[in-house]
Symmetry: C2
Subunit: 456 residues, 2 copies
């Protein structure tokens, strides 16, 4: 039981915000397998310098430091929108009639609308500190692009965003936010890159893909002096920066005299899940505690629950090194009727290793069930969740209902990564009962997995 | 100077949230003139019962109680999304190079995205407590409709929203949010009311107006057993509920050892401004302090700065009683190119009286200047403001720049009422340099003012 009265929302004081990120790899008894080049050589830090800022390449590769100081200028921006609240879901508990105590860490209260800003600020800072003069990235639904646009302009860095053409056309407001923060946004494929022009020459009506957008962004970064490429998930450096979510959560829970029995996070590339669970996984790895950790993914893009633990490219265009991870194959495309994010074919190598080693569980849900949970949550907790976040809500609700069956007063913590303001076309589908579910067949998965690189 | 280190965002503890609203009328030496019927009779509380819940009709009319307890169930919901943060605009101060200390009270961190929820929750609660079975309202841009949909479903009250047809068609996502909270949303004029059918018969392509939507909502409330009508601004009861904004602000500033020299709020119907200034105006009226109070309105809809202090209808359809207020005439329509809210022809009778008595100042800005300020603010404070809120930002920036000229270290407090997630079409116009300004001519104003009712 909590040792003090639990407020609906607990905000740490500004001086309680952690001043160092936690590097999960420092406590992993076995490290994730190294990145490889397509011909099987182990990637060295220096080989990443043309793509990433040096400090970020170092964070990507170096696994030894347990704590990494958050630079003062990053901390100053964190203080503008953090700490994020740790919320006690009293009304949800009541609606579910569960003896469980449900907590969620809400990362949506900033203009980018999600946790993505935590890493965007860090990546933009390091690029600026090294004297770089611009950044490039890709964005699908637009959450990452928005966060990075905000961070880049804060540091005075020009930003070029390749936005998947179908999203560019369907989500003009996402583009408008990025442009308000001075980003240059191109529909991808575009005529601004070699790869884009090649694709358009073959197919002028190509509607784009994340893979193509990544390829365009990397081409620009590598070919423009002073530019580097940045990515909002999957990478080790991103999980490092996102550890702020879990660290704040743990401090807040400690103040309440609580420790989670179950931690639930949605999982696309892993940026939120990896950050949320970081300090709790540390407890698990060091034997201090043994909470259950549950990754929730969409049934339409089930990398952990139905993918293969294998070396694969991080992009569809095969411009990146190979990473050992749970993957559906880099050519896998979730059905177009899949409304939310979490559309990535792979999973963070750190999380993949932890899952492979039995340190966490995974579960998948179909999207109408996820929107059921989203609506149930919105109605009592007055926050409209992003569809991605709603996967975690669904997982937490099911765990709380299981407690109702058993009568156990478990403590459930889940990550509410962002708001659904830009996902109302999907909510509209759901409200109108025109939303359908999609689960890839075994044959679909076999087809894309059969194209995995033969290596590692 | 502050007596303690000022955090970027100060959240009160949950147990510091005020438990009573403050009724400004209790300290006004002269009361606003009474509401009148169209034939000149003073409106009595009982005459409002068919339209408003009784407790709300009482709050509307009764001017004697200084403090009114916030019902426990309302307070419980306030605790889900309040306290809202008092923010110190360090980065804006730095960008402006001003010696002023700028604070803002940010009300946008809830699903409705604005301060409107503060009154929506109260109005829905009282309706439920009296055993009413449904609510009706109108919405233009959708902020109020969203907040009320959220509040009504929380208390299990069906809600019918008449949304101005042009907004209904241009802002399908606003509708989708309301529907997610189970509201029934009709494009107004609709075929669900007498007045709607009459208008459609005469003009099948009528694109609607706030006046028509109000008329439809009132017709439904009056003709449906158990239903009442609710309104999100202008009314005395709304200012009462919104006093929570100012009360929290004052407590937070006191903890910092600060008192504002200037308080700036945007002014449409007056719900935010009246709530923000309430306890500071009390100090002014009772001689405890003498802060400047500045209302900022759009140059395209300048009720305080260019309107007349006179009796007028609250709606274009002339179904409401008459109120003494600053008005542009109930037939006044701001130009269609006016992007933000604040489109109301009149102003809260309480604020009108205070302004008339010289207790506050008013200023108007054109919209491109307001969006300049919005963008400047967004880039350093990482919050994308609603266009309405940006009027207050512009006012605060100009006051801070004046301090730069004089070297005065003034304390400026402004109200940031909400976020601009649903206003990105306007931001897009601004970014593309297709936004234009509009100021009504003297002839325009004379024409609508000449139609004021000849009374009072």
């Amino acid at each position: 039981m909590p040792t003090t009265t639990v407020p609906h929302r607990l905000y740490l004081r500004e001086d309680e915000i952690p001043t160092a990120w936690y590097n999960l790899r420092a406590d992993m008894p076995e490290q994730p397998d190294p990145m490889l080049t397509p011909d099987g050589q182990i990637v060295q830090e220096e080989m990443l310098y043309p793509i990433f800022a040096k400090a970020l390449a170092h964070q990507e590769m170096d696994a030894t430091d347990r704590w990494i100081d958050i630079p003062g200028e990053v901390l100053d921006i964190y203080k503008v929108y953090r700490p994020s609240p740790l919320c006690r879901a009293y009304d949800l508990e009541k609606a579910l009639d569960t003896p469980a105590r449900i907590y969620y860490k809400f990362e949506g209260n900033n203009t980018s609308g999600s946790h993505k800003l935590n890493s965007a600020v860090a990546q933009a800072y390091y690029a600026k500190a090294e004297g770089l003069t611009g950044l490039s990235t890709e964005t699908g639904a637009g959450q990452w692009g928005t966060a990075l646009a905000e961070a880049a302009q804060y540091f005075g860095l020009p930003l070029i965003v390749y936005m998947v053409k179908v999203s560019y056309e369907q989500k003009p407001f996402r583009r408008a936010v990025m442009e308000t923060f001075d980003a240059k946004v191109f529909a991808s494929p575009s005529d601004t890159t070699e790869v884009g022009r090649r694709i358009l020459a073959a197919d002028p009506n190509n509607s784009g893909s994340l893979g193509t957008a990544i390829s365009e962004a990397i081409e620009v970064a590598v070919s423009t002096p002073g530019y580097r490429y940045v990515l909002g998930s999957v990478l080790n450096q991103v999980l490092l920066h996102q550890s702020i979510i879990g660290l704040e959560s743990k401090i807040a829970l400690e103040q309440l005299g609580e420790y989670p029995d179950i931690i639930v996070g949605c999982a696309g590339g892993g940026s939120n899940l990896g950050g949320l669970i970081a300090p709790f996984m540390q407890d698990k790895l060091t034997g201090k505690a043994d909470p259950r950790i549950l990754a929730v993914e969409p049934a339409s893009c089930p990398s952990l629950t139905r993918g293969r633990y294998a070396y694969d490219f991080a992009d569809a265009g095969h411009m990146t090194p190979l990473a050992k991870m749970y993957t559906l194959g880099s050519g896998f495309k979730p059905s177009a009727n899949h409304a939310g994010g979490l559309r990535y074919h792979g999973m963070s190598p750190i999380l993949s290793k932890l899952y492979h080693d039995g340190r966490m569980e995974a579960r998948s849900y179909e999207q109408t069930a996820v929107f059921d949970a989203a609506k149930k949550f919105a109605k009592v907790e007055t926050i409209l969740p992003a569809p991605e976040s709603a996967h975690a809500i669904k997982g937490a609700i099911d765990e709380a209902l299981a407690c109702k069956e058993t009568g156990e007063e478990k403590v459930i913590l889940f990550g509410l990564t962002g708001t659904g303001y830009f996902d109302l076309a999907a909510y509209d589908q759901y409200n109108n009962h025109t939303m359908t579910d999609y689960i890839p067949t075994d044959e679909d998965l076999e087809a894309s997995l059969s194209l995995l690189p033969q290596i590692g």
